[in-house]
C-alpha cells in the first residue's frame, strides 16, 4: 500500500538523520538533524492516511519543539559536546543494551504480531478505510466526543507544565526565588 520507493527513501533518510542526532558534536547540527527526522516522519504519516497527525507533527515537533531547542542552545552558547564517558563500563553495556533493544524490537515488529499489522514495503492486504480517515474532521469528532475527558486532562497538564516552566526558569534557577517564594507561601 505504501509506495516502496517512498518507504525505503523515507526509512533510510530518517535512520540516517536519527544517527546524526545522537552523534552530533554540535548541538545546532543535532537539532537540525532532528528536524529532518521529524519531517520525514510526517511524510510517513501522510502515507499512512494520518493527515492531521502529520500536520500536527510538523507544527509541534518540527516547529515549536525545534524552536525551543534551538533557542535554549543559543541561550547557552554553541559549544562542542564531546563523547567523553565518565561512567566506567557504561559505554559497553549501553551498546549491548541498545543492540538488544534493536534486535528485539525488530524481531517483534517482524514476527511478534499478527501478520496483517506488519507493514513492510511488501504489500499486505489492508482494511479499506472510510473516507476522511485521519482527517481533522474525523479526529476532532472522536476527540470531543468519547475522548473529551482525556483532552481536558491534557489541557490541565499543559497548564501545569506552563506554570512549572515559569517557576523553574525564573531568574535564580532551582535555588532562586521561585523555590523560596513557594516555601514562604506555605507558612
Amino acid at each position: 500500500m505504501i509506495d516502496p520507493i517512498v518507504f525505503w527513501t523515507v526509512a533510510t533518510l530518517s535512520v540516517a538523520a536519527a544517527i546524526l542526532v545522537v552523534t552530533a558534536r554540535d548541538l545546532v547540527h543535532g537539532a537540525l538533524a532532528m528536524v529532518a527526522t521529524f519531517a520525514l516522519t510526517a511524510v510517513l504519516y501522510l502515507a499512512l492516511s494520518a493527515a492531521f497527525i502529520a500536520a500536527v507533527q510538523v507544527i509541534v515537533y518540527a516547529g515549536a519543539i525545534m524552536v525551543l531547542f534551538v533557542f535554549v542552545v543559543m541561550l547557552m552558547g554553541r559549544r562542542d559536546v564531546g563523547f567523553s564517558e565518565p561512567i566506567g563500563g557504561q559505554r559497553t553495556l549501553a551498546m549491548v543494551a541498545v543492540a538488544g533493544l534493536a534486535a528485539l524490537l525488530a524481531w517483534a515488529g517482524a514476527n511478534g504480531v499478527p501478520a496483517s499489522v506488519v507493514l513492510g514495503p511488501a504489500d499486505t492486504p489492508l482494511p479499506d478505510l472510510p473516507g476522511g480517515f485521519g482527517s481533522p474532521a474525523s479526529i476532532g469528532d472522536r476527540l470531543f466526543t468519547e475522548w473529551v475527558l482525556p483532552v481536558e486532562v491534557v489541557g490541565i497538564l499543559l497548564l501545569a507544565a506552563m506554570l512549572g516552566v515559569i517557576v523553574i526558569a525564573r531568574s535564580g534557577g532551582l535555588r532562586g526565588r521561585g523555590i523560596e517564594s513557594t516555601a514562604e507561601t506555605e507558612h
Binding site: 561512567i87 553495556l93 538488544g100 528485539l104
Partner: protein, 877 residues
C-alpha cells in the same frame, strides 16, 4: 414495641467510650476535679439510658400479661401459706406460661395476651444490632472432602464465551452439610481457564487456588477443595444482644459504676493522677458493657480481655510503688492462664458449631447437637477461663493482691462487676454446660471448695480490704455453686445482691480508711507506714494475735510491731531464689498500712456514723441476716443446691455441697461479725481511729444508696412484689428446676440459724470476749499459721511454677537469646549493612546509569516474553 429506647442500646457503649476519648484529649485542660465530674456524669447518663431501656423492656414484658394479679405467681398451695419467707417461690409449672413473652406482645399487641396461657415463648432475645460484619477467611489451605454434583462438563477443546460450568459442591463441615452452587463462565473467568489447564494435567499444590474450577471439571470424583469454599470462613458480627440477663448486668454495671464514680470524686480528691484514674474507670465501664451486651462469644471475649486490661491498669494505678505494679502483673498473668483456656474453648465452639453467635450456638447446644468429649471439653475450657476471671480455685490468688489498687476500684472491678464475669459467662452459656453434667458438677465443686477455703482464710486476716477480698472470693464461690447446680437465676441473683453489698462494704472500707487517714493526720502520727503506730494505743492489741501466737499471746503490743514471720522457714530470701526479680510479697501482718489495719480501728460507729451504719448494713447483708439482700440470695442458692440432691443425678454430692455451703455461711457470719466488731465497736485503738471524721457527701451518698439497695435488693425475688427479677431471667436462663424440693421455710430457717449463730460466735469471741480468740489460735498453731498464710498457695505456686521459670529464664537468656538469637539478629543486621555498602554504588545518582539499567531490564524482559514459549518447558513445570 417501642423501638426508641431499644435503639439507645448502642449509646450505652458509646457514652463511656466517648468519656474515655474526651478525658484523654481534654482531661489535661479540664483538670483532675472536673475530669472526675465529667466521668461521673457520663456514667450517670449511661445509667439513665439503661433505665430507659429497662423500662421499655419490662413494659413489653408486662404488656404481655405476665402478672395480671398475684395469683399466677404462687407456684403451689403449701408454699403460698408461708408468706414472705417463701423465697425462691418462682412458681414453675403453670406460671411459666405467664412469664413467657409471646411475639405478639413484643410488638405491642397486648390486647390478646390474656388468653396466651400455656403459650411459652422461650426467648425474649430481641434487638440484635449488627453494624459491622467482620469477615476473614482463615481456612485457605484446610482441605475438606467434598462430593461433586456437577454434571454437564463442556467439551474443553471448543470453549465458547457463553459456556458455563455449574458447580455444586457438597461439603461436610462439622456443623452440617453445606451446599455451594456456583456458575462459572469458562471462557472469561481466568480461574476457569486455569482450571481447564489443571484438568488437563494433574492438580498440584501450587494450583490449589484454582481448584474450585477443577472441582467442576473433575466430576463424579471425590476431590479436595479449599475449605473456604466448603465453609464460609470465619465470621463474627459486632452485635449487641439485649435480654433479661444482659439487661440486669447493664443496670448493675452502670448503676453501681455510677455510685462508685461518685464515691471516687471524694476518695481520690487529693490524688494528682485523678484524670488517668477516671479515664481508666470509664474505659472499664465501656469494656464491661461490651462483655455483657456482646451478642456472640467473640464480643464477650473482647470485653473479657478489655476488663482484664483495665483491671491491670487500675491495680497498678499507684505504680510508683513496685508492690502495686507487681500485684497488677500477677493479676494479669494469672488471668492469662484462664484466658488461654477460654480462647481455646472459643475456637472449639467455632469449629464445632460453625458460629460464635449466642443465637446460633446456644440453641444448638440446648438441642443436643454435640455430644461426646467435645461437649465436655468446651465447657471445661470455659470453666477454666471463668476460674481465672472470677478468682476461683485454683486461679484465685490474684484477687487478694489486687487490693493494691484504689479502694473504689476494688469495689467496682474486684467485687461488684468484673469478677462476676465468669458467673455471667456460665449463666449465658449454660446450654453448653448443661450438655456436660460432669462439668456442671465441677463448677459447683470448684465453687463450694473456693467458698469454704476463702471463708477460712478470711477468718484471720487483719487488713480490712483483705477480709473483703477473701469474702469476695468466697461469695463468688457461692455463685459458682449456684450455677453449677443449674440454678442460674439464683447465681445471677446472688451476683446482683453481692454487687450491692460488697460494693457497699468496699466503699465503706474506703471511707473508713479515709476517715482513719484523716484521723492519723490530725492525731499527729504518721499513718503511712507501720513504724508510725504508737504502741501506747495498742492496749487492746491482743484482739487479734500476731502470727506466732503461742509465744505472744500475753505480751502482744511489743510483738505486733515486730512479728517474726520467718519462723516457718518460708522467708522472702528462701523463696525469692532469683533475688530482685522475685515479686515483693507483702507480708499480711506487718505490711498492712495502719489505716487499713483493723487492729488499729474500733469505735468508728460513733465517730463516722454514716459510714459506720451503712457498713453495718452491708456486713449484715453479707452475713445473710433476714431480711437483707444477702439472706435471700444465699438462701436461694442453698435451697437450689439441696433441691438437686433430691433429683436423679448424684444425690450425695449435692448434699455435701449443701453442707459446705451452710458451713461457709456460718464462717461468713463469723468473719463478718469479727470485722464489724473490730472496725465499728469498742474503743478506738489508735489515734487514727480516735480522730476519725466523717467523709464528704460524695462518699457517703453512694454508701447510703447502696445500703438501701443492700437492705431491700433481695425483695425482687418475692412474688409479693411481682418477682421482677425472675421475669427478667427466666426466659433466658430457663425456669427453676426446683420441684418438690425441701421446704422453703425450713431452708430459710437453717440459713438464718447459720448466719445468726455465726454472728453470735463472732460476738462471743470478739465482742463479749467470752472465749479469748488468742487461745484458739494457741491451741491450733498449725491451722492458724496456714490460714494466715493463705494456705501457702502462693508459696506453692512460687515453688512449682514461678521459680522454675525464674531459673529457666536466665539460662534461656544467656544460652539461647544471647548465644543464638542475638547472633542471628546481629548477623542479619551486619550482613544487611555489608550488602548495603555493596549496593550503594549502584545508587550513584547518575541518570544515564539508571537509564541503562532500565534498558537492560527491558531487554531481559523482552527476551523472556519472546522466548517464553520455548522457555516454558524449562522454567515452568
Amino acid at each position: 414495641m417501642d423501638m426508641t429506647a431499644y435503639s439507645l442500646l448502642p449509646l450505652t457503649l458509646a457514652l463511656p467510650l466517648a468519656g474515655v476519648v474526651l478525658l484523654t484529649l481534654f482531661g489535661g485542660r479540664l483538670g483532675g476535679a472536673r475530669s472526675g465530674v465529667l466521668a461521673t456524669a457520663i456514667v450517670g447518663l449511661t445509667f439513665l439510658v439503661a433505665v430507659a431501656i429497662a423500662l421499655d423492656f419490662t413494659d413489653s414484658v408486662t404488656a404481655s400479661g405476665s402478672l395480671p394479679d398475684g395469683s399466677a405467681g404462687i407456684g403451689s398451695a403449701e408454699d403460698g401459706s408461708t408468706g414472705d419467707v417463701a423465697v425462691g417461690d418462682h412458681g414453675v409449672g403453670d406460671a411459666t406460661g405467664d412469664h413467657g413473652v409471646d411475639e405478639s406482645g413484643l410488638l405491642g399487641d397486648s390486647s390478646s395476651t390474656d388468653d396466651q396461657h400455656g403459650v411459652v415463648a422461650p426467648h425474649i432475645e430481641r434487638s440484635l444490632w449488627t453494624w459491622i460484619r467482620v469477615k476473614r477467611s482463615f481456612a485457605d489451605y484446610e482441605l475438606v472432602p467434598v462430593t461433586i454434583a456437577a454434571r454437564d462438563i463442556p467439551d474443553l477443546s471448543r470453549i465458547t464465551p457463553d459456556m458455563v460450568a455449574v458447580v455444586e459442591v457438597q461439603a461436610g463441615t462439622r456443623a452440617g452439610p453445606r451446599t455451594v452452587r456456583e456458575e462459572l463462565p469458562l471462557m472469561w473467568d481466568p480461574e476457569a481457564i486455569v482450571g481447564v489447564q489443571i484438568f488437563r494435567g494433574a492438580i498440584t499444590p501450587g494450583t490449589i487456588l484454582s481448584t474450585r474450577v477443577a472441582t467442576a471439571l473433575g466430576a463424579d470424583d471425590k476431590i479436595f477443595v479449599p475449605a473456604d469454599l466448603a465453609s464460609p470462613g470465619f465470621t463474627a458480627d459486632v452485635s449487641l444482644t439485649l435480654d433479661g440477663l444482659s439487661l440486669l448486668m447493664l443496670l448493675i454495671v452502670t448503676g453501681v459504676g455510677f455510685l462508685i464514680h461518685l464515691f471516687s470524686i471524694g476518695y481520690m480528691a487529693h490524688d494528682p493522677d485523678r484524670r488517668r484514674y477516671f479515664t481508666y474507670l470509664n474505659l472499664f465501664i465501656f469494656s464491661m458493657l461490651v462483655l455483657v451486651l456482646g451478642g456472640n462469644f467473640l464480643m464477650l471475649f473482647v470485653g473479657w480481655e478489655l476488663v482484664g486490661a483495665c483491671s491491670y491498669l487500675l491495680i497498678g494505678f499507684w505504680h510508683r510503688d513496685p508492690a502495686n505494679a507487681w500485684a497488677g502483673r500477677k493479676a494479669f498473668i494469672v488471668n492469662r492462664i484462664g484466658d488461654m483456656a477460654f480462647v481455646i474453648g472459643l475456637m472449639l465452639i467455632w469449629t464445632t458449631y460453625g458460629s460464635l453467635a449466642f443465637a446460633d450456638v446456644l440453641p444448638a447446644a440446648a438441642g443436643g447437637a454435640v455430644t461426646g468429649s467435645i461437649a465436655i471439653a468446651i465447657p471445661a475450657l470455659l470453666l477454666i477461663g471463668a476460674t481465672g476471671k472470677s478468682a476461683q480455685l485454683p486461679l484465685f490468688v490474684w484477687l487478694p493482691d489486687a487490693m493494691a489498687g484504689p479502694t473504689p476500684v476494688s469495689a467496682l472491678i474486684h467485687a461488684a462487676t468484673m469478677v462476676t464475669a465468669g458467673v455471667y459467662m456460665i449463666a449465658r452459656a449454660h446450654p453448653l454446660f448443661e450438655a456436660a453434667p460432669v462439668v456442671l458438677a465441677a463448677v459447683a465443686i470448684v465453687g463450694a471448695a473456693t467458698a469454704l477455703m476463702a471463708a477460712l482464710i478470711a477468718l484471720v486476716q487483719v487488713d480490712i480490704k483483705r477480709v473483703l477480698a477473701y469474702s469476695t472470693v468466697s461469695q463468688l464461690g457461692y455463685m459458682f455453686m449456684a450455677v453449677g447446680a443449674g440454678a442460674y437465676a439464683a447465681g445471677v441473683f446472688h451476683l446482683m445482691t453481692h454487687a450491692f453489698f460488697k460494693a457497699l462494704l468496699f466503699l465503706g472500707a474506703g471511707s473508713v480508711m479515709h476517715a482513719m487517714e484523716h484521723g492519723f493526720a490530725h492525731g499527729g502520727a504518721h499513718p503511712a507506714d507501720g513504724s508510725g503506730r504508737e504502741s501506747a494505743s495498742m492496749s487492746d492489741a491482743s484482739f487479734d494475735p500476731p502470727l506466732d501466737a503461742p509465744s505472744s499471746a500475753s505480751h502482744a503490743p511489743a510483738s505486733i510491731s515486730t512479728p517474726d514471720l520467718d519462723v516457718d522457714g518460708h522467708s522472702e530470701v528462701d523463696l525469692g531464689g532469683a533475688g530482685a526479680s522475685s515479686p515483693p510479697r507483702p507480708d499480711h501482718f506487718t505490711d498492712v498500712p495502719a489505716h487499713q489495719d483493723m487492729r488499729m480501728m474500733g469505735g468508728l460507729l460513733s465517730r463516722a456514723p454514716i459510714t459506720g451504719w451503712t457498713f453495718l448494713v452491708g456486713g449484715l447483708a453479707l452475713a445473710g441476716v433476714f431480711p437483707l439482700a444477702g439472706f435471700w440470695s444465699k438462701d436461694e442458692i442453698l435451697l437450689e443446691t439441696l433441691a438437686r440432691a433430691g433429683g436423679s443425678d448424684g444425690g450425695t454430692l449435692w448434699v455435701v455441697l449443701y453442707g459446705v455451703g451452710l458451713f461457709t455461711a456460718l464462717l461468713t457470719a463469723i468473719y463478718t461479725g469479727r470485722q464489724l466488731l473490730m472496725v465499728l465497736a469498742g474503743a478506738p485503738r489508735s489515734t487514727g481511729a480516735k480522730n476519725a471524721a466523717e467523709s464528704p457527701w460524695t462518699m457517703t451518698l453512694p454508701l447510703v444508696v447502696l445500703a438501701v439497695l443492700s437492705a431491700v435488693g433481695g425483695l425482687v425475688v418475692l412474688q409479693t412484689f411481682g418477682a421482677p427479677l425472675l421475669h427478667l431471667l427466666e426466659p433466658v436462663l430457663g425456669a427453676h428446676p426446683a420441684e418438690g424440693g425441701p421446704s422453703k421455710l425450713n431452708m430459710a430457717l437453717m440459713a438464718s440459724a447459720a448466719s445468726l449463730s455465726g454472728l453470735a460466735i463472732a460476738y462471743a469471741l470478739y465482742g463479749a470476749r467470752a472465749i479469748d480468740p488468742d487461745r484458739i489460735a494457741t491451741a491450733l498453731p498449725v491451722a492458724y499459721r496456714w490460714l494466715s498464710r493463705k494456705l501457702m498457695i502462693d508459696e506453692l505456686y512460687d515453688a512449682v511454677v514461678v521459680h522454675p521459670f525464674q531459673r529457666l529464664a536466665p539460662a534461656l537468656w544467656h544460652r539461647i537469646d544471647e548465644g543464638v538469637l542475638d547472633r542471628v539478629v546481629n548477623g542479619a543486621g551486619r550482613s544487611l549493612i555489608a550488602s548495603a555498602q555493596a549496593w550503594r554504588h549502584v545508587q550513584n545518582g547518575r541518570v544515564r546509569s539508571y537509564g541503562l539499567s532500565i534498558a537492560l531490564g527491558a531487554v531481559a524482559l523482552g527476551i523472556l516474553l519472546v522466548f517464553a514459549d520455548r522457555l516454558s518447558g524449562v522454567l515452568l513445570p
